[in-house]
Amino acid sequence: MQVLKALVKNPLSLAGLIVLLFFIAIAIAAPWLAPPRPGFSSYEIPRDGFGITPKPPSKEHPFGTTQGQYDIYYGVIWGTRTAFIAGLIVTGSCALLGIIVGGVAAYCGGLVDEVLMRIVDIFLAFPFLVAALAVASLLGRGLVQSMLAMTTFGWMSYARLIRSEILSIKERTFIEATKAIGASGSRIFWKHILPNSIYPVLVVASMDIGSMVIWLSSLSFLGVGAPPGYADWGQLISYCRNWIAGGQGMLFRYWYTLVFPGGALFLFVLSFNLIGDALRDILDPRLRGRKISG
């Protein structure tokens, strides 16, 4: 509650919260805002013909159509759901995997810890997008494959974080006290150590959702993410590549092919970053309640 109050008080994070609520509303209201056609998957963007050249916004297509006559408005609305689903699932699985690996490493210690942490080092040697691109393409194009590839290379920071948290909490006096009253090892771990160390992980995870959505869009943009015609912002943005230059003397003629999906992606990620940045300052005990003169 206190955290929420602090978030509302800071103008930047308040703006982030409002934008986030706006996107949540869109994601929930998607079936009413852009009714799917009967007999088609709701994530399949409807096409108005097969012409190549994008068409500007009109009454029928409020945001215009992009290359291949995909309706941009429909894609942006349902893309919100794709972004939430992908962001939450990927971040959630990364955090879970990281908590398990880091937790086991810290709990067992010794050789197990050493081996697990070297495995973390190995995964960390790969640049995220490069590795995700490689794995997603080897597994075959698709949203699930991309999410799997991203999870494979996204869990390591969580493992390191939870491990160091657990190791520091293990040494606290209240753990000694629980030992003194005779609690069993597993009880101490599950009831006292884990709940106390999981908090920073949750903060990092909340900040990660935005970047995961960017990475997924990048994969779609590069052509290994969502299949053609799938309601995904990165996919819509990749359609605008051939048109955005507009041709000499036709300045921003096809602006709508980039501005709507690009703007949605930007605002979505921005809202998470604004909240995350404020959260970090609020929850960082070293920065709490002090003023710097100078």
């Binding site: 930047l12 790969f126 640049p127 490069v130 935005g210 930007f266 710097i292």
Partner: protein
């Protein structure tokens, strides 16, 4: 001591991911020449020669043997062997990376200092907002926007690496290649116009790549400065009557720089990620563009080769950072 183990682990991991494609596709990873002219019989023979029908452990050793001998296979995407492609394209990507790296660190550090010294004042809020915005701006959206403005609207800064006329000069016999970096080679050859043309093509990719990295450097520098400014020795320095400028520049910044050096290694990772996207958008013929092509065509040797190369680069980068750290911080000693 640990480096060889991690390198071995990297190859093991990559080999595991190679299992996602069928053995015939994996065969390309072993062939140093164009496989399209092979007959069916020859292919079957090669399958045996490289142990692709044997147990996984045998396959792994056979593959590792090739990799250690520098044979990464034949890339369909570049119509060349993977090794040659990397050697040829590395300077191209390195040029973008080099020009983004230095300004981004300098600007990030400078803004981080300004931001922390004016903690919670208007300028702090402004730089932070700019950093968060820059961080949230997906590279490819930024790149396409820049392309629309500076190429679509004005034709000022075209995509690609060089204009046709400059490319002809670079590929002519009189032009000597020293580094592979087109701007530096042009200067060494005394070709001012080629230098300017190369620079003109570099501006947008470099700008696009630096924005995000600078946001990261700024954030790290800012929080590191905030922490240092709180230390007792800063209060002591102020109590001694030193000017605020001396306190900041001589006492605070020097110590706050250390974490920024640590993330310089991390920056290398970001440069690899960013290069892929940026080169695709600006049609810049570097490693990233090749990797993206390879991923689309399922060019297995190229995908694998590039991934290994990237991982090794990151490892070397981190090693350099570790050594730098020991030089900068007298408390750190390596035996």
């Amino acid at each position: 001591m640990l480096l060889p183990i991690i390198l071995l682990g990297i190859t093991f991991l990559i080999f595991a991911f190679m299992q996602a494609v069928n053995p015939y596709q994996r065969l390309f990873c072993f062939l140093p020449t164009n496989p399209s002219r092979l007959t069916k019989q020859q292919v079957e023979l090669l399958m045996d020669k490289y142990h692709l029908r044997d147990p996984l452990m045998v396959q792994y050793i056979s593959w590792l043997n090739q990799v250690l001998h520098g044979n990464l296979g034949w890339s369909q995407a570049s119509h060349e062997s993977v090794g040659k492609t990397i050697v040829k394209r590395f300077p191209v990507s390195a040029e973008i990376a080099l020009y983004s790296f230095l300004p981004m660190i300098a600007i990030g550090i400078y803004l981080g200092i300004i931001s922390s010294v004016n903690h919670n004042r208007a300028i702090d809020h402004f730089t932070r907002l700019a950093a968060i915005t820059g961080w949230a701006f997906p590279t490819f959206v930024l790149g396409l926007t820049l392309l629309a403005i500076f190429y679509g609207a004005s034709g000022l800064l075209p995509p690609g690496r060089l204009s046709t006329w400059a490319s002809l000069i670079v590929h002519s016999e009189q032009f000597k290649t020293y580094t592979g970096l087109v701007t530096i080679d042009a200067l060494l050859n005394g070709e001012w116009r080629v230098f300017l043309d190369g620079l003109r093509h570099l501006i947008l990719p470099v700008l696009c790549l630096s924005v995000i990295e600078w946001a990261l450097t700024l954030r790290v520098m800012r929080s590191s400065m905030l922490e240092v400014l709180r230390q007792d020795y800063i209060t002591t320095a102020r109590a001694k009557g030193l000017t605020e400028r001396t306190v900041i520049m001589k006492h605070a910044v020097r110590n706050a720089l250390l974490p920024t050096v640590t993330i310089a290694g991390q920056d290398l990772v970001f440069l690899f990620n960013g290069n892929v996207v940026v080169e695709v958008i600006f049609n810049y013929p570097g490693l990233g563009q090749w990797a993206a092509d390879a991923a689309l065509q399922l060019d297995v040797p190229a995908i694998i080769g590039f991934t290994i190369f990237a991982a090794v680069c990151v490892l070397i980068g981190n090693l350099v950072v570790d050594l730098l750290y020991a030089i900068l911080d007298p408390r750190v000693k390596y035996d």
